[in-house]
Structure formats: structure tokens, C-alpha cells
């Protein structure tokens, strides 16, 4: 055939997010399949394990809930390998989960060899701060375990995939997940030396929400992580300016009242006169430096700390405005205006609701980023959410796999190209 139909059919994307694994071939269309990025190591002595005697060492995908046992059991047996975007070099359990997820993804889309199929061309996407050994381990996994279904593999950083999926070649991508956030300038390729990582994500918004619940008399509920997350999503707001928002919320408490009914239960949370605290939830994600948070730190809430993981230092208290400026100012001066003109926000931690009645006081994530940059003198800025925040990394993987020539071989110095696995 004249056109390369192979890539039209057998390009396969895998996005290893902090909480979800998104995967599927190009033929999935707009949306890939999703399972939790986690694996369960069953107790081999348990009755449940014996009932499923064909079960593997590690269970991944939709079957995980069938094996779950007591809560105490979960902490040791349920492994989220990329909770912080990184896997320790010697964390064999985490790598086992990643291997099982790769196999699960491929097995979910079997292809027959007599249909011209010689294996998928797989594009896997990892966190931008992934050290070289993560690339090595992931590529090794495909080399040794999946040779039958895999023709070639490559790995690209998630912010790069976001930019590709969104169709922008010069931009700053901010990817914010549960555990951390990454700021990555891109000009036809990620500018690695200008990346900034923050040790702050959706999990920190959960932490301040739990403190607010305790202060409002719901301490008994503050320990349930999934409930706290729902409350955060239900009542949390991003203030344009925190001081003005608190003043306004205290002046008109009915308008800003924070109430959340837990579906299917009798539980209803009502912050009443403390409803102004709902603005702290959003502010904390974007800027934890306001003096109001000191009272929470002094009462025992952990302050986001600088953490060194691999070769990267994840900054704890740097606000998003300063983080973007720090990142952009590491790039050539003539590129900087172009980067500010295209800032892309990706990841679940930027999905905040804004009620029309609160417009101007509560804002969405792009408006907040603009506001933080304006306060630091950066004005000609365009900030957008990616059109498909959940799937933009997978979209980028698919486009990358389709477009990059198959004879472009893997280069360990550039960390790009195809590593040939099968025939």
C-alpha cells in the first residue's frame, strides 16, 4: 500500500498519571480507556486468593476491587507506583505494578498476526521530572515482557505530550496532579533545564480541607480521604484576591455559604459563619504563603517542604506565579514573551468550579494564574485550560507515535526516538 496504514491502526498511547493509567490504540478515537494506576498484591494465604487460583502476583485494572480486604491490608498491599510521579530505582513492587499495567493495556486490545500486525508502536508518557533510570526500567519492561505485541517503544515527558495534544509548539505547560506540579517550557521540544517542580498538588488542597472540617466541628469526617476530596470539590473556591474574598464572604455570608450533602447518606456539612474558609482551599494550591495559613502550620498541619527526589528539587512554598517566572526566565530572553503568551494548564488539580453569582470574587484556574503573574508585573499573558485535560497527554502520545518516522532510532542522549523491540 502507498500510505502507511500501519501507523493509522497500531499506534498505541500509554499515559502513566499519578492516579490513573490511560491507554489504548489510535483506533480508540478521542478517548482512551482508563484504570487506576495501582496494583494489589493479594495475600496468597487468603481464601479470596485461593478462590481465584489463577490470579497473578499483582492484580491491576478493573479486577482490583474484587480482591480488596480490610483497610489495614490496603496500606501494605495496594501500591500506587507513581503517586509522586516518580518511582524509586529499587522499588520492585512499584515496577511490578507498572509491568502488569503495560501487559493489561496491551492484552485489552489484542490484534491478530495474520492481519499484517507485527506489534504496536507504543508511546509511553512519564512525568517531566522522571530521571533517566525510569526510562531505562520502562523500556526494559517492554523489551523482556511484551515482545509479541510490541514492535517499537518510545517514552516522552507528559508536558511535551500535553503541548502536542493541544497543538501548540511554543508554550509553558503546567501539569498539576494529586502529589505535585510541574512547570515545563516548550519550544518544539521541552526545555529540560528550565523545568520547575512543585511539591504541591491536589493532595495539599485535601489537607487544608481536612483542617477546615476539624475547625468547623466535623473532625470525625476529616480522616476519610475520599470524603474530604469530595468536600473539597464541592465547596472549594479559588479567590481572585484572598483578602478581598474573605471580606466579601464575611459581609454577605448567605451568598457564600458552603454546604455539602454527601449523596446516599444523612451527612451534611455546613460551614455556616466559617464559610469564608472555602476560599482558603483554592488559595493554598496556588499560593500557600499568605499569613493566614501560618495558624494552620502552627497547629500541626504540615508545611509543603522542599523535597529532593532523584535529581529534582520539588519546591514546597513557591507560588505558581513565581514558579512560572522562575521557569520562563531560565529560557532565552527573546523566547520569554512567546512563552508567556501561551500558558497551558493541564491536570485535575486545575478543575475548579465557579458559580456565576460569585464571579469576580471566585475565579477559575487560568484567571488566578493571570492574576498572580499580573501582581509580579507580567501582563501580556494568555492562560488556557487544555481542551481535554484528562486525555491531552494520551492525545499527544498518539500524535507523536503517528508522526515520528519509524526509522528515527532511540537516542539515549536525547531520550527520544523509537526503540525497536519486535520484528
Amino acid at each position: 500500500m502507498i500510505t502507511n496504514n500501519y501507523r493509522n491502526h497500531y499506534t498505541f498511547g500509554m499515559d502513566f498519571g499519578t492516579s490513573d493509567f490511560k491507554f489504548g490504540p489510535i483506533t480508540c478515537g478521542e478517548n482512551p480507556h482508563i484504570v487506576n494506576n495501582r496494583g494489589y498484591f493479594p495475600d496468597r494465604k487468603s481464601l479470596v486468593y485461593r478462590a481465584f487460583e489463577s490470579a497473578a502476583d499483582v492484580i491491576v485494572g478493573d479486577e482490583v476491587p474484587l480482591y480488596l480486604q480490610s483497610n489495614e491490608d490496603l496500606t501494605s498491599r495496594l501500591v500506587y507506583p507513581m503517586k509522586n510521579g516518580l518511582i524509586d530505582k529499587g522499588d520492585e513492587s512499584a515496577w511490578k505494578v507498572v509491568g502488569a499495567l503495560c501487559q493489561f493495556g496491551l492484552d485489552a486490545f489484542p490484534a491478530t498476526a495474520n492481519n499484517g500486525f507485527h506489534g504496536y508502536n507504543i508511546v509511553a508518557s512519564l512525568s517531566a521530572v522522571s530521571p533517566r533510570y525510569m526510562y531505562e526500567r520502562l523500556l526494559e519492561l517492554f523489551k523482556h515482557t511484551h515482545s509479541g505485541n510490541v514492535r517499537a517503544v518510545t517514552v516522552i515527558p507528559q508536558p511535551f505530550a500535553v503541548a502536542i495534544g493541544h497543538g501548540v509548539t511554543t508554550c509553558v505547560v503546567i501539569e498539576s496532579g494529586h502529589g505535585n506540579s510541574q512547570i515545563c517550557p516548550i519550544s518544539k521540544y521541552p526545555i529540560g533545564s528550565a523545568q520547575v517542580a512543585l511539591n504541591r498538588g491536589g493532595g495539599d488542597a485535601n489537607a487544608i480541607t481536612a483542617e477546615i472540617l476539624k475547625d468547623s466541628g466535623y473532625g470525625d469526617l476529616a480522616g476519610e480521604e475520599s470524603l474530604v476530596r469530595r468536600v473539597k470539590e464541592g465547596i472549594g473556591l479559588i479567590p481572585d484576591d484572598l483578602d478581598s474574598a474573605i471580606t466579601e464572604a464575611k459581609r454577605a455570608p448567605r451568598k457564600f455559604r458552603a454546604k455539602h450533602k454527601v449523596p446516599g447518606t444523612r451527612v451534611e456539612i455546613d460551614l455556616e459563619q466559617d464559610s469564608w474558609t472555602r476560599f482558603l482551599i483554592g488559595e493554598y494550591v496556588f499560593n500557600p504563603n499568605h499569613e493566614i495559613f501560618e495558624s494552620y502550620f502552627s497547629r500541626g498541619m504540615s508545611r509543603p517542604r522542599d523535597v529532593k527526589m532523584g535529581e529534582t528539587t520539588f519546591r514546597g512554598m513557591l507560588d505558581f506565579g513565581d514558579a512560572i517566572i522562575t521557569s520562563v526566565e531560565k529560557c532565552p530572553v527573546e523566547l520569554q514573551p512567546m512563552l508567556y503568551r501561551e500558558i497551558l494548564l493541564s491536570g485535575g488539580n486545575f478543575s475548579w468550579k465557579v458559580s456565576e453569582s460569585m464571579e469576580g470574587v471566585a475565579v477559575d484556574a487560568p484567571t488566578k494564574i493571570k492574576s498572580l503573574l499580573r501582581k509580579k508585573g507580567i501582563k501580556n499573558v494568555s492562560v488556557k485550560m487544555t481542551t481535554s485535560p484528562q486525555f491531552s497527554v494520551w492525545h499527544g502520545c498518539i500524535i507523536y507515535g503517528f508522526a515520528v518516522p519509524e526509522d528515527y532510532e532511540w537516542d539515549w542522549q536525547r531520550l527520544e526516538g523509537w526503540m525497536r523491540i519486535g520484528s
Binding site: 500500500m1 502507498i2 500510505t3 502507511n4 496504514n5 501507523r7 493509522n8 491502526h9 489504548g24 490504540p25 489510535i26 483506533t27 480508540c28 478515537g29 478521542e30 480507556h33 485461593r50 478462590a51 481465584f52 487460583e53 489463577s54 485494572g61 478493573d62 479486577e63 474484587l66 493489561f104 492484552d107 485489552a108 486490545f109 489484542p110 490484534a111 503541548a163 502536542i164 495534544g165 497543538g167 509548539t169 518544539k188 481535554s388 492525545h395 499527544g396 498518539i398 500524535i399 507523536y400 503517528f402 508522526a403 515520528v404 518516522p405 526509522d407 528515527y408 532510532e409 527520544e416 526516538g417
Partner: protein, 194 residues
Amino acid sequence: MMGNEHTLVSVLTISDIIQRNRIIDTLLHLSSLRAEGTQPYIAAPRLLGATLDSQILRSSGIGLLLYDDKRIEETIKPEPIHRTTGTHQTSPSSSTDTTLIAELAALKLMCTELEKNMSRMMTEIKSLQESGTSSTTISRDSDTGRALGLLQRPDATFQTGVLDAGALPSFFTNNPWLDVLSKKGRAEGPLLAG
């Protein structure tokens, strides 16, 4: 037209990449008009260059022009066709043409047949799934644990796709990265097809 020579150019656009059989149709069309001209070309966006098989174009004597916003480059020269003066004379190239056209027509027919078969199989699979759902019973198999397991486990095999064969998802539309990425590993200068 230059002197006694004609040049035929069929232009493909970016949107053609997502249309099934568009390139085959173009090649068939060019081949059918070869009696009228001696310099048949396909002009394609530079992006598409990486997906075209130069060998097939060369063997059929069709030239390739790659274009973008800035320039047009002749990547493959066409093989000239010499007109025959008598109906009884047949040159080797016209014989190749006839064979090529016949082969392409056969391929097109096979493709249509395959699509029909695929569609019929999908219908059959769907009806099997429906009948399976409506007749679920708990097995009295001695290995009850395993039987329950089979019933309760989610089906981990998904449909292989929602797109028609050869179609591309909407996020490919006007994506400038297709052009950028297709040049990966290519040295500056004329692009080579295939």
C-alpha cells in the same frame, strides 16, 4: 506544457490524509491519464511525505512533489512515458501501467470485501454478546469459586476501536506538531519519501 511534453499534477491536501482510499484514487486517476501526458506527479504536503512509499511511486513512474508554505521540492522524478504511434505497439511501461491498474483495482475490491466482512462480524459479535447477557445463569460447576470468578470479573477486552479504518481522530486536525515531528531524524535539505 513544455515543448512536446505535458505535466500532470494531482495535488493532495492535509485533509486528504484522513480520507480512505484517497491516495489510491489519485494514483488510479493519474495512471488513467498517462496516455495524455508524459510527466505525472503527485503533489503532497511535506507532512504526508513521510507516509508515502517512494518505491511504489518510482515503480509506477509517478513523480512526487512535496510542498509547504515556503517551498515546493521535487523529491522523486517521474519516469517519462513515450507516446506510441500505432495501436498495435505496446511499450513495456504501458504494459506495466495496465498491470498496476489491474492490481490496484483488485486491491480496492479486496478492501471493500474486507470491510463488508468486518461489518458482518461486528454484527454477529454484538448479537452473541446480547444473547450471552440475557441467558446468564449460575453454573453448577464443581469449582464454584472459579465459576463465580468468571461471572464477576469485568471483561478486560475492549473493542479495538471506534474509528473507521484509516480515519484519524479529530485532534489531528490542523495540528502543527504533525509537521514538526515528521521531520525528526531527518537532515535539513530535500525530504526523502518513504
